[in-house]
């Protein structure tokens, strides 16, 4: 595909890696913020090609990983109600809450459906006027304009049986929280290219300056990532701490104004709990009062559940890169991708899941003929 395949060229990747090897003289810990970037790094094995001292930490940029237990519980509770069609991106279906997951609700008779776009959920609501259609509005700044438009669209065209369960999070406060931790080891960031396509990157400039960390807006293909790492290492080696844009083909400094306006119209900034990290002030989006009628939490009056993470889980430290999954007593025994105890084991891009996938374990036998 155009604009994908070119950025997967093995020969060019080799050149960039060679240059990285030449540039890197000291060990550096770098965090790629976005789960999509983690995906490319893990799937292409880029981390194994990096110079020995360059360590990549998988950041909190995966809505599956950071959506708090209590919010999953609310989703499960709403989805289990009769008359509800609960819609979600596929990512959230297998995330365990404290009473189960959405695939389990579906198996027990709930009407849970995967949509590709939030507009599909609105369409479903219009087609089923006697049902309540709830959309699980998770995601980062990239997804917020789409989810905002779904609410606006429902409000404008009058789709009263549509509502959203909002669990939107914002990247900059998370980066700040990671940098504020006393044991932080992250020295540079790859900012999430598509978040910045929407938001631009001016809000990262004060962070880079204050904490003296380079931040490179980076794309998602192998060449993008290696170049982003290279640009970060160059800054580190040169003692710079700037915001640079590797992903200039899709990202402008001020981002997408129309999309930002839609976010501001529909949402307000609020505190959010991040799974594995805890509450971060002003780190998320909630529905603006004007659209409170579309708030699924109000419509369904779900009890606030006091869900606590598993005591053995050291996800917070793992997300900040201060400990490894193998330091966790539950890793590989009580906690596996099939039965995750904590956020980093949930999605394939989570650090614990990535470790588990790469670790030595016998594949499960399939005894049946196909």
């Amino acid at each position: 595909m155009k604009y994908l395949d070119e950025y997967r060229d093995p020969a060019l990747a080799r050149r960039l890696l060679d240059e990285l090897h030449a540039v890197a003289t000291a060990p550096w810990t770098i965090m790629e913020v976005c789960g999509g970037q983690t995906h490319t790094i893990v799937r292409q094995g880029i981390d194994e090609l990096l110079p020995a001292g360059i360590r990549m930490i998988h950041g909190p940029g995966c809505p599956v990983c950071v959506t708090p237990l209590a919010m999953v519980d609310k989703a499960v509770a709403i989805a289990a109600q009769p008359g509800v069609i609960f819609t979600s991106y596929g990512d959230m279906l297998r995330v365990p809450g404290s009473t189960g997951d959405l695939v389990g609700v579906k198996a027990r008779g709930g009407d849970v459906r995967v949509v590709y776009s939030p507009l599909d959920a609105v369409r479903l609501a219009r087609a089923n006027p006697d049902r309540q259609v709830v959309f699980f509005a998770v995601g980062f700044e990239t997804t917020a304009p789409a989810n905002a438009m779904a609410v606006l669209h429902a409000a404008t065209t009058g789709v009263p049986n549509f509502s959203v369960l909002v669990s939107h999070v914002l990247v900059p406060p998370a980066i700040t929280a990671i940098l504020d931790a006393p044991d932080n080891e992250v020295r540079g960031f790859l900012a999430a290219g598509h978040v910045c396509a929407v938001m631009g990157f001016t809000e990262y400039e004060p962070i880079a300056a204050k904490y003296r960390v380079p931040i490179v807006v980076t794309g998602f293909e192998p060449l993008d990532l290696i170049e982003g790492i290279l640009m970060t290492v160059r800054q580190l080696e040169e003692g710079r701490a700037e915001v640079e844009n590797q992903y200039a083909r899709a990202v402008r400094r001020s981002g997408n104004g129309t999309a930002q306006a839609a976010i501001r119209r529909v949402f307000t900034i609020s505190a959010r709990t991040w799974r594995g990290i805890g509450e971060i002030p002003a780190s998320g989006l909630a529905l603006a009062p004007e659209f409170a009628a579309f708030d699924a939490e109000r419509r369904f009056a779900v009890a606030e559940l006091n869900a606590s993470e598993h005591p053995a889980c050291i996800a917070g430290q793992i997300l900040r890169g201060t400990r490894l999954p193998t330091d966790c007593a539950a890793y590989g025994t009580a906690c596996t991708p099939r039965t995750p105890l904590g956020a980093p084991m949930v999605s394939a891009e989570g650090t614990c899941a990535a470790f588990y996938g790469a670790g030595r374990r016998a594949p499960l036998p399939v005894l049946e003929e196909r």
Binding site: P10, Q44, C62, T99, D120, P337, L364, L367
Partner: protein, 345 residues
């Protein structure tokens, strides 16, 4: 470990869609619930070889077909049900002798549609050259099925010289793939209305018994293992072969033939082409000395025109499948966990 409530809890008491997706969940269900006490332990095979009258051997395979939509570019549930079972027989080195056909019909199914599907079964069976010798028809109430399900069972006879088994892969074997991957699964996804995608893509559904006959004729017992990478895709097929043979398989990702629309659909929905289902290709583990002859034999017919080597077999780590990535690194090729879900992340 003391697990107190509330704790993250996944669904473990109910059957999930993912239990049927050919991945880890399915392996877990089979291993823990279905096979113990029922089927004699042994390697995962596409078909069973059964001692029969007077020292002979019969080959048997059964498969249910529940695909929706029932009609899709490149085929329908009827032809698919013939191809699927013929191919499972072929993956054991067998030529098909007879097919059995069992329908479960939902009350309300248009009879015209049943007639069309049945005609498709008949046409596919004629094209394969295998008779449908017996059948069964059950009707369940409206809402107790999704239109029509088919189960086909095949009886086959081993091809002369065939010694194919999922457990016969050996270090040093080459890994051959007969054609492009991901076509069937992508065709089904794009035929589904709810995702809103359109693609001019046709399923690869086709019978592979002639391809296998050519391979065995050319390679004899050098054809060690065969598998059709259906549900769970190539990743599952390779993992199953690696587990059954106790070998390590390394494939080269750049060598994989992924048609453009398959790649595009996978990018859009966040799927891995290695996890997408196929219904008309096979992967083979072949002794290196037989590889050239087998590859030439594969390419001698339309089903194998695009055959190529995609990897090699090593001894260690046993049971592990790895891929040489585009950028020259390696990664684990794991099985799908549960259901294949479109993702945004």
């Amino acid at each position: 470990m003391d697990i107190t409530c509330p704790m993250p809890r996944v669904e473990t008491e109910r059957v999930l869609l993912g239990h049927g997706s050919g991945g880890q969940l399915m392996a877990e269900l089979l291993g823990k619930v279905i096979t113990p006490g029922l089927v004699a332990p042994g390697p995962a095979e596409d078909a069973a070889v059964v001692p029969f009258e007077g020292g002979g051997q019969a080959v048997l395979s059964t498969d249910g077909f529940v695909v929706t939509p029932r009609f899709f570019p490149g085929g329908d549930i009827g032809s698919l049900a013939v191809h699927g079972t013929v191919n499972d027989l072929a993956m054991r080195g067998a030529a098909p002798v007879a097919l059995c056909l069992a329908y479960v019909l939902e009350e309300g199914l248009p009879i015209e549609e049943l007639a069309r599907i049945t005609a498709s079964v008949a046409a596919a069976a004629v094209a394969v050259g295998v008779p449908v010798v017996c059948g069964d028809t059950k009707v369940v109430g409206r809402g107790a099925a999704d239109g029509l399900y088919v189960t086909t069972t095949g009886l086959g006879v081993l091809l002369p010289g065939a010694t194919v088994s999922a457990a016969r892969g050996r270090p040093g074997d080459v890994v051959l793939l007969s054609g492009p991957i991901g076509l069937h699964g992508t065709a089904i996804l794009s035929a589904r209305e709810d995702l809103g995608f359109e693609a001019e893509i046709a399923s690869d559904s086709q019978p592979l018994h002639r391809l296998v006959a050519r391979m065995i004729a050319a390679g004899g017992s050098g054809v060690h293992a065969l598998r059709d990478p259906t549900r769970g895709g190539l990743a599952s097929a390779l993992n199953e072969l690696a587990a059954a043979s106790g070998i390590a398989i390394e494939i080269s990702e750049p060598a994989l033939p992924v048609p453009q629309p398959v790649a595009a659909a996978c990018e859009l929905l966040g799927l891995d082409p290695l996890h997408v289902a196929n219904e008309g290709c096979l992967v083979a583990l072949v002794a290196p000395e037989a590889a050239d002859a087998v590859l030439a034999a594969m390419r001698a017919g339309p089903e194998g025109a695009g055959a190529r080597q995609i990897g090699t077999v090593a001894a260690d780590p046993a049971g592990r499948v790895t891929a040489r990535t585009l950028v020259g690194s390696t990664r684990i090729v794991d099985m799908l966990v549960g259901e294949q879900l479109p993702r945004i992340c």
